[in-house]
Symmetry: C2
Subunit: 409 residues, 2 copies
C-alpha cells in the first residue's frame, strides 16, 4: 500500500473550503450552485486518477475504482459535501477526501472487488428540514413524497432543487439500490463531540447511531398592535413559544444520562415586526438519542408541556412530525476488524456511539456498515470553528484504506 | 360645508387596499414600489380636485388646497400610507383619505389659510426598525445618521431606500420644517385598542401619546452540533433568549396599571438550522407607556434580567438602544375645541391617551397638534382583521373637517 499523502489531503480539503466561504464560515447548502461548483472542482482535481464517475437521478455521485471482477458487489465508502449554514470545512469533506485518498493508497494493490466512493447529496437538513435525504432514498428507507415539497421560507422545494440540479425526482426508483448492492460500506467522519479529544484517542469505532426525531410546533396566538394592546389582553405566540423552548430543554436535561438531547434550532415569527405582538410562531425541534425509550419519554414530556401551555396561555399548539428515525446498530464484525487494524497500526481507539446522524445510518438496509470517527477540536462542528488536524485525518484514512483493502481482496 | 361623501371615502380606502394585498393581509412597506404605486394611484384619483402637490427629498408628500392668504401658515392634517407586514387597510389610510375628504367638504367655504394634507413616509417601523421616520426628520426630532444604515436582514438600508424612491438623504435639511410652519396639525386615526368600541363612543380625543423605547438584545452563546453536544455542554443562545422573552413580559405585567407594555416582535436566530444549537439570537424589543417613571422601572428590570441570565447561562447579552422617545402631550386648546365640535355635532366622545405612536407625536415641535381616534373592530390593528366601519370613519371626518374649517378661517 502506498503511504498516505498528507499534502494532497490538505489541498483537497482546503480547495473544497473555498466553495461557499463567507466571513461567517462556509455555507454550502445541498443542491445549490455552490454545492455543484464544489463537486465539479473536486471531479476536475481527481480527473487524472481515471476513475469511473456516475450520478443518479437524485444527484448522488458514485466514483468507482474498478476491481478485477466486475460481477462482485463493490466495497463502498464516502460521505457528503454539503454544509449547514455558517458551517465548517471538515464535516462530510473528511469522509469524501479520505475515501478518495484511500483509493490512491490502494493503487499498487490488486483487488478483486471494485471500490466506490459515494458522495451523498443533502446529508445536512439545513435546506429542507430533513437530513440524509440522498442516502435515505437510495436505500429505500424513505419515499420521495415525504420530502418533495419540503422548503425553507423563501426557498424552492426539494423537488424543484433536484430538478435545478439536473436530476428527476419522479424517476427516483432508478436510484434505489438493492440489498447486497455493496459488499459493505464504511464512512469516516469527524466525531462532532469532545470525547476522542479529551480522552486522547485517535480513532472512534462507532457501534450505534442516535436517531433524530424532528418536528415542528406551530403556535397560534393573536397578532395585535404592540403599543395599543394592554398586557392582559394579549395572546402572544412568542411568549408561549419561549415557554416551549424552555420546556424542551428541561425535558432533555431530565434524560441526559441516557444520552438524549433536544434542540430548537429554527424560530419563525409571524408577522415578525417590532410593533406587532407575534400572532404565530413555528419552532423546529430536533430530538436525538440512542435509547428509544428515553426518546419516547422526552417526546411525551414535550407534548404534555405543549398541552399545558396551550391551556394556560389560551393559544393553539399543533405538532407536525417531520421525521422519526430509530437508532441504528452498525456491523459488529466490521467494528472488530477496525479494532484489529488499529492495534496493528498502533493507533489508539475507543468504542463509542454517534450522537449525530450520518448517511451510514441508512446503509445497513443494503449492506454491513461501519463508521470511523476522528477527533475534532473542542468537539465543535456545524460552526466556522470546526477543525480537524491533518495528522488525525490521515490516521483515519490509514485505517479506512486498510478496511477497504481487506474487504475488496 | 358639503356633507361627507361616504361612497368616495369607501372607494378610496378600498382602492388603496389593493396595493400590497396578499392572502395574509396587506404588506406595503415604506419606500417600496408597492408604497409608490399606492401613492401614484391616490394622486391620480384626486387629480380632478386640482390641489397643489409637492414631495420633499425624504419622500413625504404635501397636498395643498390653497387659501386666500398664501402668507399665513397653513393648517395641516394627514397620516401615512405604509403598513406593517401582514397589516390591514385602515391604519394610516383613514387619516389620509379622511383629510382629503375633509378638503372636499370645505370646497364651498372661503378660507383664509391653505390646508395641507401630509402623507408622512415610513410611519411603521416594519422595514427599518424605526417608527415615524418621515415626521421625526421634518420636525427636527432626529437627524438622518440615526437611521441611514438601518435595515432588516436581506433588505436595503434606509438611505438606499430613500434613493430608490427618488429622494436624497444627504439633502435632508431641505425637508426640515421651521417651528410655526403650520398653524396647527390634526391627525385622525383608528384607535388600535378596544376602548371606544367597548364603551360605545364615536370619537376619542387624544391628550397624550405613549413613547416607544426600542432596543435589541444580542445574545451570544455557542453554536454546536445539535446531536453530538450533550445537554450539560451547551450555551444555547435561544434558551437564554427565551428566558429574556418571558422576563420582558413579566416586567411589563408588573407595570400594567401604569399602561406600560413590552413586546418582542422579531427574533433572529443564527445560524437558524434544525441541526445546530443556536449560537446567537437577537431580540427586538418594543417598550411603551405614557408614564416615564414606569417605563424606566420596566427597562431597569429587563436589564437586571439580562445580567442575571448572562451570568447563570454563561452567555453574553448586549443591549443596543434603537430609540427612546419621551411621551408627548398634545395641545389642550385643540382638544377642548374638538370636545365642543363633538357636542355640537351630537357625537359621543371620550378623552383618552394613545398607546401607539403616531406621526402626530413629533408635530408639537413645530405647531399645536391634536389627534382624533375612531373605533376599530375588536381593537385589532396591524393585522389582516383590522377594520373600521365606514360610518365611524365618516363621523371622524365630520369632526376633522370642522376643526380644519375653524383653524383655516
Amino acid at each position: 500500500m502506498i503511504p498516505v499523502n498528507k499534502q494532497r489531503v490538505a489541498d483537497l480539503i482546503a480547495g473544497l473550503a473555498k466553495f461557499g466561504k463567507t466571513d461567517a464560515g462556509i455555507t454550502r447548502l445541498a443542491y445549490t450552485s455552490t454545492d455543484k461548483a464544489a463537486q465539479m472542482w473536486l471531479l476536475k482535481e481527481i480527473e487524472y486518477m481515471n476513475l469511473e464517475v456516475r450520478e443518479d437521478v437524485l444527484g448522488n455521485l458514485f466514483i468507482r475504482k474498478p476491481g478485477l471482477d466486475p460481477n462482485q458487489p463493490p466495497v463502498a465508502c464516502g460521505s457528503h459535501l454539503d454544509t449547514v449554514i455558517h458551517g465548517g470545512a471538515y464535516d462530510g469533506m473528511c469522509g469524501v477526501v479520505g475515501a478518495l485518498e484511500a483509493i490512491h493508497m490502494l493503487e499498487d494493490e490488486t483487488l478483486r472487488r471494485s471500490i466506490e466512493v459515494i458522495v451523498f447529496r443533502a446529508e445536512e437538513s439545513s435546506r429542507f428540514g430533513f437530513a440524509t435525504i440522498g442516502s435515505k432514498l437510495i436505500t429505500g428507507k424513505a419515499r420521495p413524497d415525504k420530502f418533495a415539497d419540503a422548503a425553507r421560507k423563501d426557498d424552492i422545494s426539494f423537488k424543484e432543487a433536484v430538478k435545478e440540479w439536473g436530476g428527476n425526482l419522479a424517476e427516483y426508483e432508478k436510484a434505489v439500490l438493492k440489498p447486497g448492492a455493496y459488499k459493505c460500506f464504511a464512512e469516516m467522519h469527524i466525531e462532532q463531540g469532545k470525547v476522542l479529544e479529551e480522552t486522547g484517542h485517535q480513532i472512534g469505532i462507532v457501534h450505534n447511531i442516535a436517531a433524530p426525531t424532528r418536528f415542528k410546533l406551530h403556535i397560534k396566538g393573536m397578532a395585535d398592535h404592540s403599543g395599543a394592546t394592554p398586557m392582559g389582553f394579549r395572546k402572544d405566540a412568542l411568549v408561549s413559544a419561549s415557554k416551549m423552548v424552555l420546556a424542551i430543554e428541561t425535558a432533555a436535561i431530565r434524560e441526559k444520562d441516557h444520552g438524549t438531547v433536544a434542540t430548537v434550532g429554527i424560530v419563525e415569527v409571524d408577522p415578525g415586526s417590532i410593533n406587532v405582538v407575534p400572532g404565530r410562531v413555528t419552532l423546529w425541534v430536533d430530538l436525538r438519542g440512542v435509547d428509544t425509550e428515553s426518546i419516547g419519554r422526552t417526546l411525551k414530556e414535550i407534548r404534555q408541556a405543549a398541552q399545558g401551555t396551550a391551556r394556560t396561555d389560551g393559544v393553539e399548539i399543533e405538532e407536525e412530525m417531520l421525521t422519526s428515525d430509530a437508532p441504528v446498530a452498525l456491523d459488529e464484525k466490521l467494528a472488530a476488524q477496525s479494532e484489529a487494524i488499529c492495534k496493528e497500526q498502533k493507533k489508539s481507539f475507543l468504542h463509542m456511539n454517534s450522537g449525530a446522524g450520518h448517511d451510514a445510518m441508512h446503509m445497513p438496509a443494503i449492506c454491513p456498515t461501519t463508521m470511523l470517527f476522528i477527533p475534532c477540536r473542542g468537539g465543535i462542528s456545524h460552526n466556522p470553528e470546526e477543525y480537524a488536524k491533518n495528522e488525525d485525518i490521515c490516521a483515519g484514512i490509514e485505517v479506512l484504506a486498510e478496511i477497504l483493502k481487506r474487504e475488496a481482496k
